[in-house]
């Protein structure tokens, strides 16, 4: 282990990692540079834009404001871990279908924030979606299509659950 670096055990997208990190390394840096998970984007470093949002033990957090060592023993889910091209997560499918994105740079963070929101409120009103996504910024869309995408995703998730119950 390099001098001054700290050991870190962490589970990312279901895979356990045991690497050492610089104590100053941010979770976003660790995910992007050490694990090559570049779907998590960094747009500001000041916890404003939310492009770096991931799930940390199930909660949506901004990974640019968490030190990697703070995630010791935690489970992290990034955009790469929520679905695959063959089996998109309902939120991914809805953003794709509903044109809930343009340049796509904020999209991973917005989707992770949306997943966090839908876990807490499976049937959010438009006002709740607007409030729930307050921590992320999108410069391209004007937000309306994103709100529609989240509403659509909520519907898809409910349908999935109905199907699961039906089985």
């Amino acid at each position: 282990m390099r001098e001054g670096w700290e050991p870190l055990k962490i589970t990312v997208n279901g895979v356990q990692h045991a690497l050492s990190v610089e104590p100053r390394a941010l979770l976003s840096e660790y995910l992007r540079e050490e694990l090559g998970l570049t779907g998590t984007h960094v747009g500001c470093d000041t916890s404003q834009c939310g492009a770096c949002t991931v799930l940390l033990d199930g909660k949506a957090v901004k990974s640019c404001t968490v030190l990697a060592v703070q995630a010791e023993g935690s489970e992290v889910t990034t955009v790469e871990g929520i679905g695959s091209v063959d089996d998109l997560h309902a939120v991914q499918a809805a953003f794709w279908d509903r044109h809930g994105l343009q340049c796509g740079f904020c999209t991973p963070g917005v989707m992770m924030a949306a997943i966090g929101l839908l876990q807490e409120r499976p049937h959010p009103t438009e006002e709740e979606i607007r409030a729930g996504l307050d921590g992320v910024i999108c410069r391209c869309t004007g937000y309306q299509n994103i709100v529609r995408a989240v509403q659509d995703a909520a519907g898809r998730l409910a349908a999935e659950q109905d199907r699961a119950v039906g089985d």
Partner: protein, 776 residues
Amino acid sequence: MTAVGESVRRKEAENKVSGAAKYNDDFTVPGMLYATLRTSTKAHATLRFVDKRKALQMPGVRAVLLGEDAKVLCGEVLADRPPLAKGRVRYSGEPIALVVADSEAQAMAAAAAIDIAYDPLPVVNSPLEAAKPGAPVIHPELGSYTKEQSPIYPQAGTNICDSAHIRKGDMARGWQEAEVVVEGDFTLPQIDHAAMETRSARVEILPDGRVQVFSSTQAPFEVQKLLSKYFAVPQGQVVVSTPLVGGAFGGKTSVNLEVLAYMASKAVGGRLVRLANTREQDIATSPVGVGMQARMKLGATRDGRLAAAEMAYWLDTGAYTDSTPRVARAIAANCTGPYRVPNVHCDVNVVYTNHVFTTAYRGFGHINLTFTVERIMEKLAHALGVDPLELRKRNVLEPGDTTPTTVRLTRSNLGDTAKCLERTAELIGWTPGSHAERIGPHTVRAHGIAAFWKTSSSPPDAISGALITMNKDGTMNLATGTVEFGAGTKTTAAQILAERMGMDVDQIHIHSDVNTKVDPEHWKTVASMSTYMSGRAVLEAAEDVIRQLKSVAATVLRCPPADLEVGGGRVYLRDDPQQYVAFKDIAHGYKYQEGDSIGGQVMGRGSFIMRHLTLLDQKTGQGRPGPAWTVGATAVEVDLDTRDFTYRIRRAATVMDAGKVINPRTARGVVMGGMNMGLGYGSRESMLYSDQGEVLNGQLRLYKLMRYGEQPEYLVDFVETPQVDSPYGARPIGEHGNLAAPAALANALSVAAGVPIDELPATPEHIWRATKGVHR
């Protein structure tokens, strides 16, 4: 129709939602070095010394470059910008030193260790101040700079680095006819593009001399040409790659990080070096959008016919010109807005200040001219006692009229402004007279409307190309040089090709990145011109492919090529579609039963250059600035709290003449996004400077953007008057949601607050000042 007019999903969206999409800074290569900038803390000062000795001793440091290490002066129009400040700094945030190290942290530590001594100079903080005689001169060398691209008319010994003019009609007669005259002063601040992806560049210089550039640019071909010119590298040896770009809005047209990354790589033996902006640098070091002070006088007859207009603009280009001289000409060319004014006198001055330098911003000056014109139209409506909507409709330009630069308008090149105004008014629920309605004890509701027009203002020789190669299975690969930064340019190109071929859009394979070595040039992905320029090239390439397919099919089907049609992946006899040959059987040549073959791989080329455009005459402004206009209108509904002047933008409607909507969902999305940016500018966004010219809000915590929940309900619709020379009649729409939103908001707030709002952003504090007559 099979593809055009359908809301097909974006080609690259699947990768974007899965996190697999790669942006420029998503590529890390082992052994890559990191560069960082040390920037000025003073807005105007001479550099007494810059001492790099301590920095060079720091761990991991490979090189430290200063102003004297850079021989070139940069600038698209006027070469006035040193890549690193030399002797003098002209804005706070200006790069002074470039440090290359093994890690970013090491580079940053060393940059902080550079010792800099400033001797402050007087700071010029506004364009009007800068234009005054006796103002401190920011570029004493102005007379000696190389003009890179005409026209540019610097006035040596002053801060006025360029000016553009319109002289149309007879002003004396115009003022004589004018029975009612209104005047006003208008101010807009500089604005940051704030694309969510900050700018970055990587450069590697290979032993054979090839310069590999990786950049988040809107203009990879411009990067190629300028690096070739600045550093005397043959153009073909400069290869620029641009992956998906995370938002651009004009801010990524300017070539600067690429120049610095090249210098950094050169200093370390050609090794791969990465230079990426922090958000703070993206706001305060890289260029922003232009600010302005303007004065306008408008005269009309008593029955509301416009007779004469005189306007003067002082554009805050900041410390360097970049593309702002071209913005000045765009403003001049369209200075009347979409209205018929027979007599026009317009001066647009480009003025240096000690602010961050500026480049293209979504709308290319049209937010500025629209704000000015639409605010004064409102004053005129008030003075005449006419409904503002009615006044606009009465004066819209029609086919047969001429523009300020005397281009004759046709239905094809203009579209239908009146229809857009009517539909916008309908969507917002316009009531004639435009009065504030009291809807609560402390709340008033008001509407504002504003119309816009815009043409491309691109160089007369701007080019675009398309290459098609066919796969064995009959599908097509399409290569274009447009950058995909969110507007859907690649998907649009694929839709245009699919439509012409009668194929499913899934059968068109288009790559979302650009590489100058293999992709045909597209001038720059700007001015909302991709559909027109790239689309024309795609259609020409499609014709080339069709000709080749028919030629081989004619032999196979034993008929003249003229009897054949293409569609559904087949070439078939027009009179008997059952007789056909499939694309897949001729895409790579046709093989007879005996094995002998004819044809070869089908590959098509399309090449487009702008037609009939001319530079504007420097004295009169006569000339043709673009192939056609997009017209439209935006209306806003606000609820204003009369106690503290906070307000909520409830609804916003935009209707524009899109000619033909290629992809309805993408189009609505792009227009809503534009409106959101425009309302952000109108309500909160601004580059803020201290008395000493220091940027006060150089991070997203302080630079306010529209956030979730603050957006109004967006209502978007289109009128479709075909632009005959454009693919399927489509007009540019990418910037246009942005253009009139600030003006419409200011008009609504002026009605609601009962005072003219002639300066943006209209923060509650600003409205309060306006109502109390308190000046800063």
